[in-house]
């Protein structure tokens, strides 16, 4: 199902993200970590997500900032697990993978992080449109990995 979350309302991000949010299923590959905090990295489009208890941290970015064509197409199961929220309560992030070669800095548009800001429940969903990849170059906007 095609979901239309907040795309540019950064004030909403700022307001909601000062709280801890909960990932009941964790991230794929890091399923045992359930609590994270997000802070805006000042003067950049990046957000800093840190686990509250363990040593895991990530940079995030608004996928609509990276690709104006980005769409969030998730399984109805995922939407229900988020509490079937109003779209205006949803925000979406893409996890950034840094690299010493700036050409290879990428973000993951296949597995976006979706947050229900009303309940602070989050879920890493799988974008059902197979054109999105795990390594989308921030610099060129092109895929750095093969599609599935």
């Amino acid at each position: 199902m095609l979901v239309t979350p907040q795309k540019t309302n950064y004030s909403l991000y700022k307001d909601s993200l000062e709280k801890t949010f909960f990932l009941p299923n964790g991230l794929f590959g890091i399923e045992n970590i359930h609590e994270y905090r997000i802070q805006k990295v000042s003067d950049t489009p990046f957000y800093d997500m840190q686990a509250t208890q363990e040593d895991y941290s990530f940079f995030l970015i608004n996928p609509y900032f990276i690709s104006q064509e980005f769409e969030l197409n998730i399984l109805p199961h995922d939407y229900q697990a988020l509490g079937s929220p109003a779209y205006m309560d949803l925000i979406v992030f893409s996890i950034v993978t840094l690299n010493s070669d700036v050409q290879k800095v990428s973000c993951n548009l296949l597995g976006p992080l979706v947050i229900n800001t009303a309940t602070l429940i989050a879920r890493q969903c799988i974008n059902q449109d197979e054109k999105w990849v795990t390594k989308h170059s921030l610099l060129t906007g092109k895929s750095l990995s093969s599609t599935l």
Partner: protein
């Protein structure tokens, strides 16, 4: 691994009280179409997709203390 033989339109039930039912819908050459009924809290994935996302998550985990992306890198990205 438990191995069961099934024909088209036959099903497998997992955890009957949870209502998980897997049905063979179509067999064409080496391609099998499977229908899965499961409650919303049961997550069903294609294995290669979650492996790829898990691998990327682990690669994206940054050292604590890397408080923001390198300035030169950031400037290059933002100029695009």
């Amino acid at each position: 691994m438990l191995v069961l033989s099934r024909k088209k339109d036959e099903s497998i039930v997992i955890e009957i009280e949870q209502g998980i039912n897997i049905k063979i819908l179509e067999v064409k050459g080496d391609n099998v179409k499977i229908g899965i009924d499961a409650p919303p809290h049961i997550r069903v994935f294609r294995e290669e997709v979650i492996k790829k996302i898990a691998q990327e998550n682990l690669a994206a985990n940054k050292p604590r203390g890397a408080s923001q992306p390198d300035d030169a890198m950031l400037n290059t990205i933002l100029k695009q």
